[in-house]
Amino acid sequence: MAAPKASLHLVAPVWNGGTRGIGGLSRVVAPEGNQKKGKSLLQFLADRFYDVEALRDHLLRKRVSKVHQKNRPFNHINRRYGPYVAGAYFILKQGGAVRFQGREWIRPNQRGHFSLDFLKLQAVPVEAVDASGCAINYQGLDSLLALKELQSLWLQRCPHVDDWCLSRLHPLASSLQELSLAGCPLVSERGLACLHHLWNLRRLDISDLPAVSSPGLTRILVEEMLPSCEVLGADWAQGLKLGPEEQPRDTAGPIPA
C-alpha cells in the first residue's frame, strides 16, 4: 500500500551529519532573508507539524475572508436611502470615487474618510464610478448593478475582477457608455467575449491585460463585436511575426492542438 503523503525525506536530514534534530534544522534555514525564504520556512514547518499547517491554512482563510468582508452588501443603507446611495457608499468605502448626476466627484481622502453629504441625494442617479484599484469582486458587483443609470465605470487595476464579473455586467447595458478594464490581472479574452451585451458602449479600454493571450487579435475581435464602440487596446500589429520568411497573413489565430 502506497502512503498518501510521502514525508520520507524527513529521514534524510536527520541522518545527515551536520544537523541534530528539528532545532538543528532551523539553524540551517536562515530565519530572516527575503519573503521567498520566509515562505519556504513556513512550508517546511507545515509539512512536518499539524499545528503549523493549521496556522497556515488559517492565515490563508483570513486573507480570503478579508476580501469577502470588503465586498459585503450594505442592506441597511439600501433600505433606508435607496440603491444609489448604497452603491455610492460601497464604492467610497472601498476607496473609489463616485459622481452623481450633475455634481462633482466625491472621493475619500488619504485616510479613507469621506463626507456623508451624499446621503441626502436619494433620488439622484449615480453617473460615474471610479473603482480603480479597489478590491471589488463578484459579490461586490451586486451593489454596482443596482445603479441603473450608470454611464461610466472604471475598473482599472482591480485585482479581483475576472471573467465571471464581466459576465455580470449585462444589466447595465442600456446606460453604460464607458468601461475601462486596463491592468486587471484576471481578465482574459473569454470575459471580454461577454461584453457584447453592452450595446450602448462607446469607449472601452482593454489595454495592458496580462491574462489575454493575444492582445492585438483580441482587440480586433472586440472591435468587430462592438461596431459602434471605440476600443483602446494593444496595437493590432503586436504579436504578428514579420520576417522575410513569413508574410503577415490574415488574422486567424493559432489552431488549438
Partner: protein, 482 residues
C-alpha cells in the same frame, strides 16, 4: 586457481552470490548499490510500503471504508466531498479504482465542456447552479498549499437554445427560478446575432449568466490533486468481482426480500493476472459509461424481469462524435453555445475562428460503441447541412479534426441515477447523466456524500433520481438533452 574454483563452488548458495558480486563489483557499481540500499531502508521505516515477501506498492490496500469504482470527474467529486464532509477529519479511508490512468476513453476529458442551467427538471437546474458556484470558487474549494491556482478557462458566453414551433411550448415551461434566461423572438435574435438564419425558429432561449464552457481536463486534474492531498488512495486496476452476502428479510407487509451486502471488491491489476480483494463497507458506482457492467457484477438485474431483482441499471455506452472546424467568415467572439432544434450544436473554440460541434444521432443510426473511431460521413450527412442552414457562413468550412467519446446514456429517461440500490444496500450510484454529467458533477458528488454520511439528501433533494424509479416506472424526463 584452486581458490577460484572453491569460491565458484560456494557461489551457488545465496551467501556465495553476495560474495561473488562483492568480489566482482567495482567502484562504478557502488553508487547504484548505495541508492538501492537507501531506497530499501526508506521503505522499511514506518510509512513505507515494505513487504518482506514481495513488493506490494502497486496493489490497493487490503481494506478500505469506501471503494469508488471509476476515477472520472464524478468519482473524484464523490471522493472530494466524502473527505470534506467527514467528521472527524481523516475518519474514512477512500479508495478510487480507475483502470485507465491516461483517461483515454473517459467521458470527462472527451467532453465539450459546456455548463448550462436551461433544463426542464428543477433538480437539474439546482445541480447546475451549485456546480457553477463551485467552478467560480474553485480556488477556494480545491486549494492545495503552494500549488498554483487553477484556471479552468471558463468562457461565460452562455447557451442559446433555438426552438421550432413544436418545441416552443416546452421551452417556455423550462424552469426559470435561479436561472438568468431571456426568451427572444426571431427579430430580436436577428438583431443580436446577425449571422443566424432564423428560418424555422419560433423562440430562442438565451442564458446570459452562469452558462458557458470550460476545460474539463483542468477540473479533473484539480480534483485529483486536491483529493490526493486529502488522503484518498488511488489504484490502477479494474474491478472484476464483488463478494457479497445475502440476508433474507421480511418487509412490513410480510413480503420476503433478499438484501445483499457487498463485502469485498476484487481489484485486478492492470496488465497482470494479480488481483487484490479489498474489504469494503460502501461501494460507489461512478464508472460512467461502463456502470451497467459494474452493476451486473454486483448482481443487479439478475432476477425474473418485472421484479425489483430483475431491474437492470439501464446505463449503456453511446458513442458521440465531436468535430472541430475552421471557418474564417464565421461568427465572432460573441458566439454562444448554439443548439439547433434539429439537435446539432456548435460553439466557438479559441480566437482563431475555430468551432466545435456535433449532433446526437437518432436511435436508428446509433454508431457501434465498440471503439472510438470517428465517422466523417456522419458530419457530411447529419451535422453540416443543418449547420449551414442555420449559419450561412458555415457553408464554407474546413474540418480540422474530430474525436469520439462515450455518453453514459440512461436509456430510461436520460437523467442521472443517484443514491443507494434498494436491494444491494451498500452500492451507491453516481452515473447515467447522459451527456450532462460533467456540468453536474460537483453537486452530485456532494449529494452522494451526504447520502453516504447522513443517510439522506441535505442540500439538494434528489429523491426523484433514485434507482427505484426504474422499477416503479416513474420517468423524470428531461426535454433539453443534446
Amino acid at each position: 586457481m584452486l581458490r577460484r574454483t572453491l569460491l565458484l563452488g560456494l557461489c551457488r548458495g545465496p551467501l556465495g552470490r553476495g560474495l561473488g558480486t562483492h568480489r566482482g563489483g567495482s567502484i562504478l557499481d557502488r553508487d547504484g548499490k548505495m541508492s538501492e540500499i537507501k531506497k530499501k531502508i526508506q521503505s522499511i521505516l514506518p510509512g513505507g510500503d515494505w513487504n518482506p515477501l514481495y513488493d506490494t506498492s502497486h496493489l490497493p490496500p487490503e481494506s478500505s471504508d469506501v471503494v469508488i469504482v471509476g476515477g472520472g470527474v464524478l468519482g473524484l467529486s464523490v471522493a472530494y466531498w466524502l473527505k470534506k464532509l467527514e467528521k472527524p477529519r481523516g475518519a474514512i479511508r477512500v479508495l478510487v479504482v480507475e483502470r485507465d490512468h491516461t483517461y483515454s476513453r473517459a467521458s470527462t476529458v472527451l467532453s465539450v465542456g459546456g455548463i448550462r442551467q436551461q433544463f426542464s427538471v428543477p433538480e437539474n437546474v439546482q445541480l447546475s447552479l451549485f456546480s457553477i458556484d463551485f467552478l467560480r470558487n474553485i480556488n477556494e474549494y480545491l486549494a492545495v498549499a503552494d500549488d498554483p491556482p487553477l484556471d479552468i478557462q471558463f468562457n461565460p458566453s452562455g447557451y442559446l437554445l433555438l426552438a421550432s414551433e413544436k418545441g416552443a411550448a416546452i421551452m417556455e415551461n423550462n424552469v426559470k427560478e435561479g436561472a438568468k434566461v431571456c426568451l427572444m423572438s426571431p427579430e430580436q435574435l436577428r438583431n443580436k446575432f446577425p449571422w443566424i438564419n432564423t428560418e424555422g425558429v419560433a423562440l430562442a432561449s438565451y442564458g446570459m449568466e452562469h452558462e458557458g464552457w470550460f476545460d474539463p481536463w483542468c477540473l479533473l486534474q484539480g480534483l485529483r490533486r486536491k483529493v490526493q492531498s486529502m488522503g484518498v488512495l488511488f489504484c490502477r486496476g479494474e474491478v472484476t468481482r464483488f463478494m457479497s452476502s445475502s440476508n433474507l428479510m421480511k418487509t412490513a407487509s410480510g413480503e420476503e426480500v433478499n438484501l445483499k451486502r457487498i463485502h469485498e471488491v476484487h481489484v485486478k491489476i492492470d496488465q497482470s493476472l494479480e488481483y487484490q480483494p479489498v474489504e469494503c463497507a460502501i461501494v460507489i458506482n461512478a464508472a460512467g459509461a461502463w456502470s451497467g457492467q459494474v452493476a451486473e457484477l454486483a448482481g443487479i438485474g439478475k432476477g425474473p424481469p418485472g421484479t425489483l431483482q430483475g431491474t437492470k441499471l439501464p446505463v449503456e455506452l453511446r458513442k458521440r462524435y465531436v468535430y472541430l472546424w475552421h471557418c474564417p467568415q464565421g461568427p465572432g467572439l460573441e458566439t454562444p453555445f448554439v443548439i439547433d432544434p434539429s439537435g446539432t450544436y456548435f460553439r466557438r473554440e479559441g480566437l482563431g475562428h475555430n468551432y466545435l460541434g456535433g449532433c446526437s444521432p437518432t436511435e436508428e443510426e446509433e454508431p457501434d460503441p465498440g471503439n472510438l473511431e470517428v465517422d466523417h460521413d456522419f458530419f457530411q450527412d447529419r451535422v453540416w447541412p443543418p449547420l449551414a442552414q442555420r449559419v450561412p457562413a458555415f457553408e464554407t468550412l474546413k474540418v480540422r479534426s474530430a474525436w469520439a467519446g462515450y455518453y453514459d446514456y440512461n436509456t430510461f429517461d436520460q437523467n442521472g441515477v443517484v443514491g443507494p440500490h434498494p436491494l444491494v444496500i451498500n452500492m451507491y450510484f453516481a452515473t447515467g447523466f447522459s451527456g450532462h454529467g460533467l456540468q453536474q458533477a460537483p453537486a452530485v458528488g456532494r449529494a452522494v456524500a451526504e447520502m453516504v454520511l447522513e443517510g439522506h439528501f441535505q442540500t439538494i433533494n434528489l429523491s426523484s433520481f433514485l434507482f427505484s424509479r426504474f422499477y416503479s416506472g416513474e420517468k423524470v424526463q428531461e426535454h433539453n438533452i443534446i
